[in-house]
Amino acid sequence: MTTIFRAKESIGEPVSDGPAAAMADALLSELGDLLHRFLDTGEHGRIDLFKLPISPTDLLHFKDRLGRGEVSILVEAAGGSEIYETAYAGLWWVEHRDELGRVIARLIEVADAPSIVLAHRKDLEATAKTLIRSEESA
């Protein structure tokens, strides 16, 4: 809990605690900006964590700073995706894996809900057609 409280207090306010903390501070500051933009304009924000030169230790540190919130989502689409809301409402940890369990994308989304969770209109249309067909054949 100490870590979570510290993270909340330090969004946009750098704290000095070595390279891992400095990395986390910079990312949290950017997330703060994206959150403000989302509140002002509704524009979804995203930070790609996959191509950052971040060591596994620093990544764990950052993950720890973000904490874990109330919602967890498991998406099974060509491999599992682990998605959960961090301790900060509207900041979502999104980790996509392929069928072999390898991470292919890792990002933070700033949104009311991550985009991949929402059903696509084309898929909805396909479902509607299927349901109509099954009604007709019944």
Partner: protein
Amino acid sequence: MPERMLGEELALHKISRRKLLKFATAMAASLALHPSMAAAIAENLAKARRQSVIWISGQECTGCLETITRSASPTLESLIFDFISLDYQSVLMAAAGEAADRTLREAAAANKGNYLLAIDGSLSIKDGGVYSMTGGRSDLQILREFAGNAKAILAIGTCAAYGGIPKAAPNPTGAAGIEDVIGDKPIVNIPGCPPIPEVLTGVLVNFLSFGRLPDLDEQKRPLAYFGTTIHDQCYRRPFYDQGKFAKSFDDEGARQGWCLFELGCKGPITQNACASLKWNGGTSFPIQSGHGCLGCAEPDFWDKGSFYTSLAGGQGPGWKDIAIASGAGLAAGTAAAIAARRSRSAIDQSIEHERKTKSGTET
């Protein structure tokens, strides 16, 4: 060319838009595009039509093809094979001899002006190219015949891009890169020995999604993957900035994961995406496994002296130049995380600022 759009084809194969979006999200990250571009990539891919690709080979070891095909073991990345029609690849196809030749000509004729011509391996240009021939014709003749009607050429691997190992001294076959012989076609160089498979996927997705080749640097390499050095993206960079170096492969520094510069790492002069995309599905890359970068994506890497001689030892830029480029200590090291999402010019400006600040305090 099939009339059906990819979105319809994917639906037939029970590939949902959610899967497509997931693939596009991975591709946006791979292409260093803003993550918000994922939705646009997914939408555009769904509207695109399958792209004809004709793949020919020069003097090569099949390592490039091996790495590309291995990347397509049942993973999400294999979706790319739903987006292209690989109309000719002599190693993979069942046909051989005259039947294979006929397939090549028919594919080129059917997609005249629209196919992408991929080539791995260098070209032998000495003595009329007699050192590498297929069906009685030199690789050079074959390339010239099929380059003419290609939309663009993808030079896959260091050999195709720069001549590679066949070009190593004394270069008995007169090996050369594609660009040395073809000057009137758009060329994308994807160097690496072998190249990172995700880079080819990224180039194809960029072409299909946006209707054009990705932005290239002066060596015709996709900027998204070759815009920075391995050193810029290396997770061991903070140790370099702190002056902490492994002196041998089994000393305390090596065990602590310190910088491998003094063991000959060519990361500071090698532009590639190994440190970010990594290999084997993002598992690791040479430096993470404890070995310095060989610089295999750079021209003439085989002839630049020992892989284990430090760049400070007189090859490549001297220590002083690299030290300047490394910026001012830990601050630059931690900032590297942010810099990775900026353009190279932004990094250069930042380094220049740090350098001026540093020289100002020293003088």
